[in-house]
Amino acid sequence: MRIRSYSFWRMTVQLSCACCLGLALLLIPSHSFAAERVYELWEFMKDEDIDAWHYVGLDEGELMSEGLRFNVKDRAVIFRPLPEGFHQHVDALRFRWDATGLDEVAVLFLTLDDDGQIAKRFRLSFPVSKGPTNEYIPIDFYRKDIEGSDVLAVTFVGNANNVVFDSVRFLHYTLFEKIRGVWESFADLQPLTPYSINILLGPTITSDIGSYRDYRDWRQLSLSLNAYLLVGIALFSIALLFVGLARTRRGAQWEDVRGMILRTLFAGIFAVWILYDVRMGAEFIANVFHDRSTYFAAEPAESSFRDIGKFPAFVAFAKPFLKEEEAYEFFVPDRWPYFGMMRYETYPALPNPGDPVSDLWVVFSRTDMSIDEENRLLLAGKPITAPGILVARFDAKSFIFRGAYAP
C-alpha cells in the first residue's frame, strides 16, 4: 500500500516539474518572433486603390499622403471583398483612420447569399477619438461570429469634414507567436477591483498576440483556462482508459490497472492544480506588491490606492476638519463607492445625502466645482453658497469650503 500511495506523490512531483519545464520552454521563443507579419495591406496610395473599394453615401474623396480624405454627412460606408485566404491565414486586423468629429466608426463583416444580398452581418463599433487612430481587431475572439463572411465594410456615422481613412492591415501570426499569445494571456495578471471579493475571473486564453494587453476589457470574450484544462483532463482520462484496457488484454489484473489509472489521473490533476495555483498566487502577490509600491511605500503626494486613487489620502486630509461636525455636504464624481467610504471614515460626522443642511462642503475630484472671486462655491459655474472661506485645499479639484447654502 505504501508503495502505491508513494508513487502517486512521486508522479505528482514529476508531472509538476514537467509542467513548469514546459512553461519555461514556452517562454524562451517569446521575444524572438515578435515582428508583425502583414498578410495583406490595403492602402490608399494610387487611383487603383480607390477603385478597389465600393462606396455608399460618399461622392467625393481626395487622395492624400495620409490616405483617402472625405466629408461625411450622416453616414458613409465603404466596403470591399475580403482577401483570398482571409479565414485561414488572417489572425488580426489593424485599421488606421482619423475620424475626428464623427459619432462612431464601425467595422462590419458581411456574409452574402447566392443573390449577392446581405445574409448575415457582424458589427464592431469603435468610439471616436481625436486625431489619427489605430484600431485593432483580434480575429481569434470573433472567429465564430465572422465565419463564412465575404465582405469587409467600414461605416462612418455622424457629420464631419476631412475624415481620413488610411489603411487596413491583415496580420498573420506564426505558430510561435500564437503560443506566445497563449502564454501572455495566461500570465496576464488582473488587478484587484471592488468585485474581486465576489468573483475572480482567472486566466482566459487567446492566441492573439497583438494588443492584448491594451484590450483588457476584451478578456471576457476569450475562453477561460478552465475550459481547456477540463477538455485536457477528459482526453487524458480517456487515453488512460485505453492504456488500461490494453494492459488488461495483456493479462494485467484490473485492480492493478485501475490503481494505475487513478494514480496517474489524479497526479496529473494535482500537477495542473499546482500550476494554476502558481498563476493565481502570482496574481495575489503581484497585487499586494502593487499596493505596496503605489500606496504603502509611496510618498504621500504620490500615493494612489487601486482604482480609488487619491481618495484614501484625501480622507486622511479631510478627517481632522470634520471631527466636530455632525453632518457635512459631500461632493464626489460618483456616489459609489466614495459616499459609503466617507460615511464610514468620518463617522460620527455623516455626509448628508439629501438637500443641504450644513455649511461645510467637502469636495473631492470635482472638475465642475470651484470657488469664485467673491468666495462663493460654484457648481457647474453657478454659485450655490453665500461668500464663505476656503478651509483647506487638497488639490485643484478637491477642497473643503465653509459657507451658508444659498441656491
Binding site: M1, R2, R4, S5, Y6, F8, W9, R10, T12, V13, S16, L192, P194, Y195, S196, I197, N198, I199, L200, L201, G202, S224, L225, N226, L229, L230, I233, G259, L262, F266, W273, I274, Y276, D277, V278, R279, M280, G281, E283, F284, I285, N287, V288, F289, D291, R292, Y295, F296, F305, R306, I308, P312, V315, P337, G340, M341, R343, Y344, Y347, P348
Partner: protein, 475 residues
C-alpha cells in the same frame, strides 16, 4: 503598544474559548492543543460577543471598563464551573496534534521538497496577504458599508443604539441591523482594548480567524487521515484564490466557513466515535459550535441550520430501534444547546422587528423562476479562477468514490452539502435574489462558506480512492 494590546485582546478571546471548550469536554478530553487553539479563538469570539450582547441589553456600556467587567465575569464563571465539574483547570492529556487514522507516510527527498515548496508558497501568500490586510484602507463594499461601519457605530456610541427610533438609519448600528453580532462586537472589543479605532487593529481578527480555519481544517484532516494528506488538503484549501482573498480581507464569510466546517466535522466525529465518552464530548462540541455559528451571520439560521437538523435527525433514526432512543436523546441534547442562542436571538429579532434572511429580508419574496441563474452559476463554478478546478474535481471524485462514501458517515456530510447547495440554488433561481447570482455578488460569497467542507470531502475521497482496501488504517 497598540500591537501588544491587540494581541492581548485576541489572546483573551482565545483563552476564554479554550476554557469554554474545557468545560464542554468535562473530564473526558478529545481535543488536541491545535484544536483547542483554533476552536478556542472561533468559539471565544462568538461566546464573548454573545455575553457582551446580553450585558449591553441590561445596560452595561460598551466601554473598555464595561467590556473588562464582562470578561471578568466570563472568566470567573468558566473557572468556577470547570473546577466544580472537573476539579482541575488543566485537561487530562492534550497532545499537540490530533491522532491520525492512517499510518504516517515516510517522505521521499523529492516529496519533502514538494511539500516544502507548496507550504512555503502558501505561507508567503498568507504573510503577504496579512500585510495587505493590516495596512490597507477600507476598500471592499461590505467592509465600509456593513462590517466595520456597524462596529464603529457601536464603538463610538458605546451602546447597541437600540434607544434610537426604529426608522433611524443608525438604529441597532444601522445598515443591516438584522445581522447577528459576533463580528461587530469582536471588533468593538479589539478597538476598545487597543485604545482606539484603527483599521489594522479591527481587521487583524480576520487574519486570525483565517488561521483558525486552516488549523481546524488541518487537524480535521489529520484525524481522518494522516499528516501528508492533511498538509495536501490544507495546501489545496489555501490555494483557492477566492477563499484567500476573503481570508485576507475584513469580510465575515471565512468566519462563517470556519464555524460551518467545525460544526460538520464535530458531527462527523460524533457519527464515527465508537466510544460513548468520545461521542458525548463530540456531541457537546457539535452543539456548542452550532449555537455559536448562529451568532455569526443570518445564513446560519436560514440556510445552514435547517438542513443540519434534517441530516442530524436522519442520522439518529438510521441505527435501528435500540439505538434510536439513545440517538434521539442525543438529538434533544444538541437541540437544547443550540436553543440557548437560537431562541433568545430569534425572540430579540421578533421583539425589535428585525428581518430574517441575508442582508435582504426574505419574508416578502414571491417564488417566480428567474432567468439566467443556472448559466451564471455554472460559469461561476466551472469557468472562473476563484475556485481553480475544485467543482469539476469534486463531481469527478463523488462519482469515482461513490462506493467509498455510500456507506460511510461521510455520506451525511455530502448529503448536507447537496441540500445546502440545492437550497441556495433555488433561492437564487426562484426569488429576486437572483440578481446576486447573475451579477456574481452574493452567490460567490455563499460558496466561500462551503469551500472548506467541499475540499475536506474531496481530500477524504481522494485519499480513500488512492489507498487500497488493505490499507494501513488504524481505525
Amino acid at each position: 503598544m497598540m500591537i501588544i494590546r491587540t494581541l492581548f485582546a485576541l489572546a483573551l478571546l482565545l483563552v476564554e474559548g479554550a476554557l469554554f471548550l474545557r468545560l464542554v469536554q468535562g473530564k473526558h478530553s478529545v481535543l488536541s492543543l491545535l484544536e483547542y487553539v483554533a476552536y478556542g479563538l472561533l468559539l471565544g469570539s462568538a461566546l464573548v460577543a454573545y455575553v457582551i450582547f446580553g450585558a449591553a441589553l441590561v445596560g452595561v456600556p460598551l466601554s473598555l471598563k464595561g467590556l473588562l467587567w464582562v470578561h471578568q465575569g466570563i472568566f470567573i464563571v468558566l473557572i468556577v464551573l470547570i473546577l466544580w465539574r472537573c476539579r482541575t483547570i488543566i485537561p487530562p492529556t492534550v497532545p499537540l496534534l490530533p491522532p491520525s487514522s492512517f499510518k504516517e507516510q515516510k517522505l521521499s527527498r523529492w516529496l519533502t521538497v514538494l511539500v516544502g515548496l507548496l507550504a512555503g508558497f502558501a505561507i508567503i501568500k498568507i504573510l503577504i496577504g496579512g500585510y495587505d490586510l493590516l495596512l490597507s484602507p477600507v476598500y471592499f463594499n461590505d467592509t465600509y458599508a456593513n462590517w466595520n461601519m456597524r462596529s464603529k457605530a457601536f464603538f463610538t456610541n458605546e451602546s447597541l443604539m437600540l434607544d434610537l427610533p426604529a426608522e433611524d438609519e443608525m438604529y441597532f448600528g444601522g445598515r443591516v441591523p438584522s445581522y447577528p453580532l459576533a463580528v461587530y462586537l469582536s471588533k468593538v472589543w479589539l478597538a476598545k482594548a487597543a485604545g482606539g479605532w484603527s483599521e489594522g487593529v479591527v481587521n487583524s481578527i480576520h487574519g486570525a480567524w483565517f488561521l483558525a480555519l486552516l488549523a481546524s481544517f488541518f487537524a480535521g484532516l489529520r484525524r481522518e487521515g494522516n499528516t501528508l494528506w492533511a498538509l495536501a488538503g490544507t495546501y489545496a484549501l489555501t490555494s483557492l484564490p477566492l477563499l484567500l482573498i476573503h481570508g485576507m480581507n475584513p469580510y465575515a464569510d471565512v468566519l462563517m466557513a470556519a464555524f460551518l466546517f467545525v460544526v460538520l466535522f464535530s458531527f462527523l466525529r460524533w457519527m464515527r466515535s465508537d466510544v460513548a465518552a468520545d461521542q458525548n464530548v463530540w456531541l457537546r462540541i457539535f452543539g456548542v459550535m452550532t449555537a455559536a455559528m448562529l451568532f455569526v451571520k443570518n445564513e446560519a439560521m436560514l440556510i445552514f441550520l435547517p438542513p443540519l437538523i434534517l441530516v442530524f435527525a436522519f442520522s439518529c433514526i438510521r441505527f435501528g430501534k435500540l439505538i434510536l432512543r439513545f440517538r434521539g436523546d442525543d438529538f434533544s441534547r444538541w437541540a437544547a444547546i443550540v436553543s440557548v442562542v437560537a431562541v433568545p436571538w430569534m425572540f430579540f429579532k421578533v421583539m425589535h422587528g428585525l428581518t430574517f434572511g441575508n442582508a435582504t429580508g426574505v419574508s416578502g419574496f414571491s417564488l417566480v423562476p428567474q432567468e439566467g441563474v443556472a448559466f451564471a452559476i455554472e460559469g461561476d463554478l466551472f469557468f472562473t479562477g476563484g475556485y481553480l478546478l475544485l467543482f469539476p474535481l469534486c463531481i469527478l471524485l463523488l462519482f469515482l468514490g461513490f462506493h467509498h462514501w455510500r456507506k460511510d458517515p461521510l455520506r451525511l456530510i455530502i448529503l448536507y452539502l447537496f441540500i445546502v447547495f440545492a437550497g441556495e440554488f433555488f433561492i437564487y433561481a426562484l426569488t429576486p435574489l437572483s440578481i446576486e447570482a447573475i451579477r456574481h455578488t452574493g452567490f460567490g460569497r455563499g460558496m466561500v462558506h462551503l469551500l472548506p467542507l467541499i475540499v475536506f470531502v474531496c481530500i477524504l475521497l481522494l485519499q480513500r480512492l488512492l489507498t487500497p482496501k488493505k490499507s494501513s488504517s488504524l481505525i
